[in-house]
């Protein structure tokens, strides 16, 4: 009888331990967050195609809303100063909020292209990366720098990954430049005339009393 009770006790402890482990495991799963659907290798091959950038000149403004939707990733403050017509403001650090993700998915479902923009393509690429990895397709980055100067919204197309000058040529030219030595002019002074003054001998009067 006693042995049965001990075995029952051990079984209960084991079951309890297993339940605790199970609950702990369940707690570790973050059911609220989205999970990545693409592997880094998939993104890498997508990046190599370089189809993720779009120039302003390629966009037909009349197609706005019907074919594509601008998503402004800047802060609300910058967005309110000026933005593209019909653009939606989603501040970059908040893109993973449920309402924003469902909005992205809705736009994608409607078959429209999402054009992300911020102050520069460099600032936008991180958002593109996270959203693409989450499986959202039809994402493009506006290849332009956005500034607000003198009360006007400036959109300048940029040439990414281009050097303004060949560094090798710059170094070569620098070594070819010959700098003429500086001239230091020192005036030659005429020697001063030295007039020697003959010292008169003081003659001591002779005689006296």
């Amino acid at each position: 009888m006693k042995e049965i009770n001990i075995s029952k006790l051990i079984t209960s402890i084991l079951v309890l331990a297993i339940v605790i482990v199970g609950v702990f495991g369940l707690l570790k799963i973050d059911f609220s967050s989205e999970n990545y659907k693409k592997l880094p290798a998939d993104i890498h091959s997508q990046l190599l195609k370089k189809e993720y950038l779009v120039n302003v000149e390629e966009l037909n403004i009349n197609d706005s809303i019907t074919a594509y939707i601008f998503v402004d990733l800047r802060s609300k403050f910058d967005f309110e100063k000026e933005h593209f017509n019909n653009a939606i403001n989603i501040f970059a650090p908040t893109i993973l909020e449920k309402e924003h993700l469902s909005l992205f998915k809705k736009i994608e479902k409607d078959g429209k292209t999402i054009i992300l923009y911020s102050t520069s393509p460099q600032k936008t690429i991180s958002t593109w990366y996270v959203l693409t990895k989450l499986g959202i397709e039809n994402l493009k980055i506006l290849n332009a720098n956005i500034t607000f100067e003198n009360n006007s919204f400036m959109v300048t197309t940029v040439e990414n990954e281009a050097l303004p000058i060949s560094i090798a040529d710059f170094i070569k030219k620098s070594s070819e430049v010959k700098v003429e030595p500086k001239e230091i002019i020192i005036p030659k002074l005429n020697p001063k005339k030295v007039i020697t003054v003959k010292k008169e001998k003081i003659e001591i009067e002779e005689g006296g009393c």
Binding site: L14, P181, P187
Partner: protein, 212 residues
């Protein structure tokens, strides 16, 4: 009855084991979008040209430079000590062993920093450690170190010291220093002799006296 209990026990054991292991099985890379977005937004992954130049001049052994540009661009010019891993072949098996380590800090750079940043995202997803991106890439390195702008006269002393450091660093990285002549030419010019001034005595005009 005994068999039923054993069955339930085993079932519970298996379910618990699956639940416990599940988070690890969900995806190959366990980085969540939230944690990666936080890392991406943070600017900790960047190093600027001045800091990098300082580390390279001091021959910091904890730094390894990786040039992500094409082989042709690399051959034209690259920052001294850099090795070339073109972005196209970043995820190749031969490069994995080099990039996936925790001994040194790997500084990634390209002409700008768009490609270097992309390389960082990909390697970060693969949980590679100690990766840094050169802010503004080779373009920034050229503007800061190889061809620095002379500060204006009204600027602070610190700016002049920084300029001097950059100019000296530029020489270290291959730019010849040619803004000053090797030796000044000293010319002597004879001072023109002064003319002797001979004072002329004015003759007093005497007014004749008397007479009517």
């Amino acid at each position: 009855m005994k068999n039923k209990n054993l069955f339930l026990f085993l079932l519970l054991l298996i379910v618990s084991a699956i639940v416990f292991i599940m988070p690890l099985l969900i995806k190959g890379d366990s980085l969540t979008p939230k944690s990666q977005l936080a890392a991406i937004i943070s600017s900790e992954r960047f190093i600027n040209a001045d800091e990098l130049a300082d580390k390279l001049i001091n021959k910091d052994p904890s730094i390894v430079l990786v040039d992500l540009r094409t082989n042709a661009e690399f051959e034209q010019y690259h920052i001294p000590t850099a090795i070339n891993i073109p972005f196209d072949s970043l995820l190749d098996d031969e490069n994995k062993a080099f990039l996936n380590q925790d001994k040194v800090s790997i500084v990634l750079y390209s002409n700008d920093y768009l490609i270097a940043d992309q390389a960082w995202f990909l390697c970060n997803s693969l949980k590679y450690k100690n990766l840094i991106v050169l802010k503004d890439g080779l373009k920034g390195f050229y503007n800061t170190i190889l061809n620095p702008v002379l500060p204006e006269e009204k600027m602070d002393q610190v700016d002049f010291e920084r300029y001097n450091f950059r100019k000296a660093a530029g020489i270290y990285f291959g730019v010849p220093y040619n803004t000053a002549p090797e030796k000044a030419v000293i010319k002597t010019v004879e001072k023109p002799t002064l003319k002797k001034v001979v004072p002329v005595k004015k003759v007093k005009v005497e007014v004749e006296e008397g007479g009517c």
